[in-house]
Subunit: 305 residues, 2 copies
């Protein structure tokens, strides 16, 4: 019986395979795999352990890179909270479909049961944006609907209003933000959310982003959605326990995760972006010639011993 | 101790609350809630049962609306497959983080074990796009990076190249497509995927979309990600069983789901889109003044008895 391929379908849609057939008029774009295979050690960076959080769940470890260039006061508070064990025994208490998971203290609203925030500051300014000047902003070639310019700053998806205007991190998949109430300055970094759905760029410049998940998103994105409004998991039995959140710099070097992330300010990264703009593997019949900021997954790897 | 709001955070980010404070210079945009509350019965439609699939999982029901205007031959084949019970006892066998789930026959590649496809056709043409003429295309006000124009056609996110060019459905969250191999015409609609991640618009015009999930996405998006490459769930113990996929028109009327979907060709829908472009609830300090096609979730509801 004639069969269609099943398990192989979408293969090339997900991974860039070497082009089986190159069209006569195809530009000399390389596939993603070709670009990454040709990368050199200088194309990769190791995130600073002082900016790296390990979030340990029963299912495994999520690794977050913090962005002090964008949210210095929140990041410093988060370092204090991690050092003092604020999240140890806390939980993911929200999973809102096509939007976010959120974690921290499920009882933060109840003064009788709330976890102490120790020596962390209890009031911080909003850090929604910062001046673009002095930032090494690496722009994308494609236009962005949400901002005058989109690109990357030291590994973080970002946007800006020209070189003399404001710059801010973008709410792409994996972005980590500081939950707040209605007041702009009501976040302290204790209750954090992670984007698990279509990039909610409308939140850009409306809430303080503090970093980005660089490994383990699949542990957060598959948390069963909360049945209550906003995806809240009100039944404690539905909470996803957090064993601990640890600042990597608090651990001996040999206990740190050997993660490398592709630099976003190199010719290799430009070639990587081009390989996503125009897919050259055999699956694609019509390369898009475009990519949105949040469609660019930044590769990471664990170096071989 | 000063506490930040925790469980209430992001409240207004997800649902549009009535504006507590309207800026003096704010345009008269209504909130999403205000728009929906002011809608009339004529603003809603009931999908045609002949274009509606019920996908029954142990966890509940997923409802898919098919789009014969875009993929008539695939839709007709899918109706045949559903009527003949092709998917009853089949499975979700792929969950690729930030991309898709895929379902059908896990053994489709193995002639010894493959399910018979009955009287369904075993070869179909690619239905990647169609002429835009004769389509009631309702454009969005905002520019789209991936296509000259983006908008909606009878409830489906779509794009086109002008009124005389091609039109196609867009790979937004919840889009249902027909998995294929490397050949453009290698899909028959038996192996289907659903977008669960950041809209992979690069697949537009490269694969046949057949419809959209209108209810139950949260049952698909939370499927634990597959450990194998491309998110494959190779261990049958990880498969998510499909009890049945049924065409609604095969059921007596009283057994059909009473779902209504907001029409996308009305003044109410325009106001809804505007409420997403410029959020006017108290949470937002800086409305974006923009929305991407795939950030517009199309409301559905179950009419009250």
């Amino acid at each position: 019986m004639p069969r269609q391929p099943a398990l192989a379908v979408l293969l090339a849609a997900a991974l860039a395979l070497p082009a089986a057939v190159a069209g006569a008029d195809a530009p000399p774009t390389r596939t993603t795999q070709e670009v990454l295979e040709a990368s050199t050690p200088a194309d990769w960076r190791t995130p600073d352990p002082a900016n790296t959080l390990y979030m340990d769940l029963d299912a495994g470890r999520v690794v977050i890179e913090l962005a002090p260039d964008f949210a210095p006061q929140h990041v410093e508070n988060i370092r204090i909270l991690a050092r003092e064990g604020f999240w140890n025994g806390a939980a993911i208490y929200r999973s809102h479909d096509n939007f976010v998971v959120q974690f921290g203290d499920p009882h933060a609203d109840d003064p009788e049961r709330a976890r102490p925030t120790g020596s962390a500051r209890t009031r911080l300014p909003a850090e929604f944006e910062r001046p673009a000047r002095d930032l090494d902003f690496h722009p994308l070639p494609d236009r962005d609907g949400w901002a005058p310019e989109a690109g990357f700053v030291a590994g973080f998806p970002a946007a800006r209003e020209g070189t003399d205007g404001a710059a801010w991190m973008a709410h792409c998949y994996g972005a980590v933000g500081a939950g707040r109430g209605l007041e702009a300055d009501s976040s302290i970094g204790a209750e954090l959310y992670v984007v698990t759905g279509q990039s909610p760029r409308q939140l850009d410049r409306n809430i303080t982003l503090v970093g980005r998940v660089i490994r383990g998103m699949e542990l957060l994105s598959a948390v069963p959605r909360g049945p209550e409004p906003l995806g809240m998991l009100e039944d404690p039995a539905r909470h996803v326990p957090i064993r601990a959140i640890t600042l990597a710099s608090e651990l001996p070097a040999e206990q740190r995760e050997p993660i490398e992330v592709l630099r976003t300010d190199t010719a290799t990264f430009d070639a990587y972006v081009e390989s996503r703009r125009n897919r050259r593997d055999a699956f694609y019949k019509r390369p898009a010639g475009h990519v949105d900021l949040c469609n660019i997954a930044i590769p990471s790897r664990t170096p071989r011993d």
